[in-house]
Symmetry: C2
Subunit: 386 residues, 2 copies
Amino acid sequence: MPPESQQLKNSIGIVEIKSFTFAAPPNEMTLECGAKLGPITLAYETYGTLNAAKSNAIVVSHTLSMDAHAAGYHPDDKKPGWWEEMIGPGKAFDTNKYFMICANVLGGCKGSTGPSSVNPKTGKPYGSSFPIVTIGDMVDTQRKLIQHLGIKKILCLAGGSMGGLQALEWVVSYPDDVASVIAIAANMRQTAQQIALHEVMRQAIMTDPDWNGGDYYGKKIPARGLALARMMGHITYMSDQSMEEKFGRKLFEKNKFDYNLSAEFEVENYLKQRGDNFVKRFDANSYLYISKALDYFDLAQGQDAAKVFKNVKANFLVITFTSDWLYPSYQSKEMVKALKASDIDVSYCEVASSYGHDAFLVEVKGQSHLIEHYLSRIQREVDHGK
Amino acid sequence: MPPESQQLKNSIGIVEIKSFTFAAPPNEMTLECGAKLGPITLAYETYGTLNAAKSNAIVVSHTLSMDAHAAGYHPDDKKPGWWEEMIGPGKAFDTNKYFMICANVLGGCKGSTGPSSVNPKTGKPYGSSFPIVTIGDMVDTQRKLIQHLGIKKILCLAGGSMGGLQALEWVVSYPDDVASVIAIAANMRQTAQQIALHEVMRQAIMTDPDWNGGDYYGKKIPARGLALARMMGHITYMSDQSMEEKFGRKLFEKNKFDYNLSAEFEVENYLKQRGDNFVKRFDANSYLYISKALDYFDLAQGQDAAKVFKNVKANFLVITFTSDWLYPSYQSKEMVKALKASDIDVSYCEVASSYGHDAFLVEVKGQSHLIEHYLSRIQREVDHGK
């Protein structure tokens, strides 16, 4: 179903997915785990125009369950890309000014190389023989794409949640690549609670008999496990308050209790729908691999957090949301403290929101104002060679 | 393994589990869902001595996954009852003064009638033909036990989490039964987030093929689903802070990453152990039924919360914990507000603790002082006929 013209008018419009393949054997890429992988394909989208100086490029990175389709519409889309409200002409990430790039992460299932890709050595999907990837590997592959596009200095690395972690990993690993970072609802390392939540989700998938050790392509997929993982994820993306406001104790299509074991409350039905829809669009093995990549994320690698940013020259905007309990504000404040300890220019803002972790997707006004002005300042500074 | 003498010295010591059976056909009990159930057995324990006036009885009610064994040791116990630190000679619930009663809830699997009990009509376990039970039904059955013991007025109803909900339901339904209530980490109704968490746990069990529609007794049990539910539950019982303090990013029995999909962090191993142990001691159907009973809990039944306590005469002590995100303090504060609106004598205390919802089991000092003095005051008032 093509989008309505009204929608297209405020949008970057129809967009297309592109792909870039590199690291073809014998020049495979060595991953952080030591394994070699190649060829590697990254699916990506771009919005806006790269200027002649190639100085207006912004890389947006995505979360666990998203993909390269951050804005605009594919011809058969019912809904636009996941950050449509933030990316487009006149929006926070203004495509009249900036050249936006978003790539599906390594390990993903939306066009980039991942466990559902065919291993050229066997002619079969990798499944659980796919090597473990890290946030660092995701960065290294996106960096190849940026080099391929001829961009030497990225104006801004931006992202929320896992997208923010990629931005942080990138600027710490390759400080000369980047003029600025916008890290939203992110942190410097995954905590025990975050790892615990991921592990329960992984166990939901891996204890589903249909997971079959990761070898289920062309067979029955581990739908029950993946739906469960997604249901659980959704609870962590919302807040106590937003769930209460949206659902409270409302019943689903009834006005009194059935008194049986089935779902009766609207919130139960919502989670089930979300779980079932997710199974249609996401690969269970990608969920395992990407959640593992999150767990390994620790910018300081167990060392002194204050020294993480010692070589970084970029400017930072850090945003959190009051009701986000998955990436609580105190975690970003630790990062701000470490940035300040390294004498880095950092703006920090905690946006009041009841939407929990999802706020980074839905609190458009609260973020737009901050981001728009921040990017104008950064571009001014870059243009004046500061 | 018998407990060591040192342990016994500070304990109520060796205790025994008793049982009380009632509602034998044709005098079955009518449950809130409308179904009739009988005979009904409640397994229970008592600690201390009922005085001649039968005026020193305290009913302690348990949580989703606990049972009647609140204190002391069974002869083959390695560990004492679940509230050992709080119940015993000289402890907060002082068994030199009070007669403590704790019964396994209806729907449970530790001696009380539940889905794993044999249905006398079929000679087979009820399984999912067991009728839905509510917190109100749990109260009604415990009330039968109290009447059977000849107690006309309960000095105090006490409990944390679901135990607190039972105390609240009891005092609202039968205000003349009770002189006082200690409600710890409880609330007046289950919220959308709590229902959502329960539903994901239930789906974990019910989508396990071994659940088999609830008919798994004598066959392979839905161990994967129940372990998953427990793992998830554990995350909600702890706090971000307590998980970070206990586990952080420590690895399990290694000092570097394996880079595979298996559990590597200590927190993952801990959750797995907890899940696997739980499966050995708890029935999956009981988990479904008791979590459902929680979801139905709504003291005001959708009506004005301020009017809930209008017929209540009991005195209240309400305790919460700063880091409890499963039953956050604001929910108890709403209850305190409703109690005050009904001119009820209520003491409220928010105990500083990093232990999350588990604090009600482990914050012994913070609670003991409050409870000890509160109970002394209540008994003084009862003895002086106030």
